[in-house]
């Protein structure tokens, strides 16, 4: 088997296994009934809001377009800043115009991908961190009653990281000329959706 074929097999196995993990129902094997469901609730929460999903994917797309080291710096920065935002929410520290902030994050990140903008890394990190605080404040604290905060947080962080991973994987099309155009187009689409969310937030 060729090296390429071997890697393809690994990827296929990984995707099939991931599919099983996503599709399996709760086992409820343990006495503490809310344990499994807390994790799955956290895992599912980031996918429930399109504004959040688009911004997460945009971070991955921008990182992939930016190249090394932003490709890994941005996805490391985002969960950390997002957790700080969630902490602010949990401590009752108010943040103005949260929904508008999330919509603006989709607009700005989308525009960055559309324009293939490459500011200094520190500028990109600060920009992404600021937006992550809004996302964390809005979504990280939405724990349903009776759920485990720890397992919900774990699921939430993992799902957010997977969305970044999805963005990075899609963003790898940047290597091909057609892919480069498609990537910039997707950035434009995300920005357009961001404008729609902003209109919804302020209307």
């Amino acid at each position: 088997m060729t090296r390429k074929g071997k890697y393809l097999n690994y990827i296929t196995c990984f995707l099939v296994q991931s599919g099983f993990f996503i599709a399996i129902p709760f086992a409820h094997a343990h006495v503490e009934q809310s344990q499994a469901i807390s994790f799955v609730t956290g895992l599912g929460h980031p996918w429930s809001g399109l504004d959040h999903v688009l911004a997460m994917i945009a971070v991955g797309l921008w990182g992939a377009q930016f190249g090394n080291p932003a490709i890994w710096t941005l996805p490391i920065t985002f969960p950390l800043a997002m957790s700080l935002g969630a902490m602010m929410g949990l401590l009752g520290m108010p943040l103005p115009a949260i929904e508008a902030g999330i919509a603006v994050s989709a607009i700005v990140l989308g525009l960055m991908v559309l324009g293939e903008v490459r500011p200094k890394l520190i500028v990109a990190v600060i920009l992404v961190s600021c937006f992550a605080v809004f996302h964390g404040h809005a979504h990280g604290t939405e724990l349903p009653a009776g759920h485990s905060g720890f397992l919900y947080s774990m699921g939430f962080v993992i799902a957010t990281g997977c969305l970044h991973g999805l963005g990075i994987t899609v963003g790898l099309i940047h290597r091909w000329p057609m892919g480069k155009v498609a990537l910039r187009g997707s950035g434009g689409l995300i920005a357009a959706m961001g404008f729609f969310f902003l209109w919804q937030a302020v209307a």
């Binding site: 343990h30 890994w72 996805p75 490391i76 920065t77 969960p79 950390l80 997002m82 957790s83 700080l84 969630a86 902490m87 929410g89 949990l90 401590l91 009752g92 990280g140 604290t141 724990l143 905060g149 720890f150 397992l151 947080s153 774990m154 939430f156 962080v157 993992i158 990281g161």
Partner: protein, 204 residues
């Protein structure tokens, strides 16, 4: 492998499986008969407690990132420290309230995410401290239950996990693969920060 070789291998496997089915032994499914029940209780306790499992894995990942020597040292020191801490926990008369899981998440996740190159003796201190403190709380949990056997189960599964995880990370050569480990570290810190938030909310 050629196709006739793989067919022969499949045939041999099938024959061996049939022979095994025709000559079954006692399953020994009820662990009371083997005396291994408390050991498996300990193993199960660690595997089903992410508050302990993740710091244990994080120690292994960080040791792996630092290379062979810290990896080897951690492989033996960490389970031993956990066991000694567990013995102390078994003898403890009161439970000290201390957010050990949160601190472990923040410290170990931060070390992995930043890929900080600490001196070997500092790594040793961290490994022993994390092992002892987590072991201590496990010892308290095991008291009146699986007891010492449970602690041996926990230590043995930690040994196995550290061996697998640290060896895997040490073997990584591609830069992106090490980055994946560091991203995992950032997730651990993020969860630690959220836990800190939940704790503060509960306390307020």
């Amino acid at each position: 492998m050629k196709s006739h070789q793989s067919t022969t291998a499949l045939l041999f496997t099938g024959v061996a499986a049939c022979a095994e089915l025709l000559n079954p032994l006692d399953a020994g499914a009820h662990l009371l008969t083997t005396g291994m029940g408390p050991v498996y209780d300990g193993i199960g306790h660690l595997l089903l407690t992410p508050e302990d499992l993740i710091p244990a894995m994080a120690v292994a990942l960080y040791a792996g990132l630092r290379g062979k020597d810290p990896g080897r040292q951690t492989l033996f020191l960490f389970p031993l420290a956990w066991l000694i801490g567990g013995f102390a926990g078994l003898m403890a008369t009161s439970i000290p309230v201390f957010p050990v899981q949160i601190l472990s998440f923040l410290l170990l996740g931060g070390l992995i995410a930043s890929d900080l190159r600490l001196p070997d003796n500092i790594i040793t201190v961290i490994v022993i401290a994390v092992g002892t403190i987590h072991g201590f709380y496990n010892g308290i949990a095991m008291e009146g239950g699986p007891g010492i056997s449970g602690l041996f189960g926990i230590s043995s599964i930690i040994f196995a996990l550290v061996a697998i995880a640290a060896a895997l990370v040490i073997s990584l050569r591609a830069a992106w693969a090490r980055v994946v480990v560091r991203v995992t570290g950032s997730w651990i810190v993020a969860v630690g920060l959220l836990m800190l938030g939940w704790m503060a909310k509960g306390a307020s």
